[in-house]
């Protein structure tokens, strides 16, 4: 895969926004891959967690937007506790989700959940899903 690296992308508003919302030093990541090795949801991801943070470092916003990965992350924090460089990748994933959600774009639609399903689901499932996946 060819990736074009440019100063314009490296210092883009997108990169600044991810750093600001997540509060993380994005360049601390040296791509060891431990996050992806331990991720329990990576079987369903089209880009691995370490690829996501690499794309963030390089400011390649479009590839992240095309990927499902940030919506598959379950915020289990396995990557966060295992990162040898102290990067809280769970917070980076949250920042990336919020950049979309804050444009008022929802990942799940409450109206699509049937009344039967609503009566079965525990409240903590509903509230956490709406918190993570809706604006």
């Amino acid at each position: 895969m060819r990736i074009e690296i440019s100063p314009h992308r490296l210092h883009s508003d997108f990169v600044k926004k991810v750093a600001e919302i997540s509060g993380q030093d994005l360049l601390a990541c040296n791509q060891c891959g431990k996050c992806s090795a331990g991720c329990p949801m990576c079987f369903a991801m089209d880009l691995l967690p370490n690829q996501i943070i690499r794309l963030v470092q390089l400011g390649i916003e479009e590839d992240i937007a095309r990927s499902k990965t940030i919506w598959i992350c379950a915020s289990c924090f396995t990557c966060s506790v295992r990162c040898p460089r102290g990067v809280d990748l769970g917070k980076v994933m949250e920042a990336l989700r919020l950049i979309t959600l804050r444009k008022n774009v929802d990942y799940i639609q409450a109206a699509n959940i049937s009344a039967q399903r609503l009566s079965e689901l525990p409240q903590i499932a509903l509230v956490s899903a709406f918190r993570k996946h809706t604006a």
Binding site: I21, A125, S128, K132
Partner: protein, 292 residues
């Protein structure tokens, strides 16, 4: 001894078995759980964004209610509530600037500076009561019951809220040994069940449940013990779905830790609300002659 207690919404409905069996067990062990008055939602997921303070209000208000109750320590049963309350508490304790903004925003409340200690009830069992003291009160040792301990995420991660070792926790194993059950170790004990993805991506959760339960079965477990009502739902409801989809899939009963504790203390099984559990827990307990 009295202890302030924060229940959270799910314990009043879907996870009644977790709450009622814990209150009864702790009473039998000498601790009265006093529900925090006027408690509200814990926020469920701790806000991870650096620029989002409004979602910290709900958990912090609960900690203010604990102070009003005249207490400096609150016990929590639900893993999600434990996580969000503990993280919000650490923020109020350690981040002077955000604490100031949040206190100013809630000007009608008394300022809060992280004075309350938030503990999970498992910690109360281990640290305040002690396994040896609990063992003395066990009337029905759960002999021959092979149970795998499943921790999930929110009791152990992130590091600053962990009630035990992040990668190799033993607190549930200690409880199982205390109540006379056979503790089974398995490699998926601390792996995520898929959590809130049950709404957006239920098939991914089914895959997780397959992996977790198959591993527990291979390790020789007959049942799983856990603390989290969302893990309980995912592992229970998805195993039913998996059994329908693949005829040869073998599931297992899912217990809350407090239900096994209650049975071992000789508390009547109705208190445990086993009807809300998945995977026929009653017939397993009856087959081992642990309840009649």
């Amino acid at each position: 001894m009295d202890l302030s207690y924060y229940p959270g919404c799910t314990l009043k409905t879907k996870a009644k078995g977790l709450e009622d069996s814990a209150i009864a067990s702790l009473k039998a062990l000498g601790i009265n759980l006093l529900e925090v008055p006027r408690w509200n939602c814990c926020g469920v997921t701790y806000s991870l964004a650096d620029d989002d303070l409004v979602h910290h209000l709900a958990p912090v208000r609960n900690l203010m209610r604990v102070m009003e109750q005249g207490s400096k320590k609150v016990g929590v049963l639900c893993s999600f509530c434990y996580n969000s309350l503990t993280r919000a508490n650490l923020l109020m304790k350690n981040d002077q600037q955000k604490r100031g903004t949040l206190n100013d925003f809630m000007e009608e409340e008394k300022h809060y500076n992280g004075e309350v200690e938030v503990v999970h009830i498992l910690e109360v069992l281990r640290d305040d009561l002690g396994w040896a003291n609990i063992a003395e009160k066990v009337k029905v040792p759960l002999k021959g019951l092979k149970v795998a301990s499943y921790y999930g995420c929110t009791l152990l991660r992130p590091q600053e809220v962990a009630i035990d070792h992040v990668e190799r926790p033993t607190i549930l194993r200690s409880l199982l040994e205390t109540v006379g059950a056979e503790a089974v170790d398995f490699p998926y004990a601390t792996e995520c069940c898929g959590s809130f993805q049950i709404i957006g991506n239920p098939d991914h959760v089914a895959q997780r449940v397959w992996d977790i339960l198959s591993s527990a079965l291979r390790s020789g477990a007959e049942a799983l013990v856990l603390t989290c009502p969302l893990c309980h739902f995912n592992l229970g409801e998805r195993q039913r779905e998996l059994a329908q989809r693949y005829g040869d899939f073998q599931g297992m009963p899912i217990f809350y830790f407090s239900q096994l504790l209650a049975v071992s203390l000789g508390i009547e099984p109705q208190v445990c609300h086993f009807e809300l559990n998945y995977g026929a827990p009653l017939s397993l307990l009856k087959s081992k002659k642990l309840i009649s």
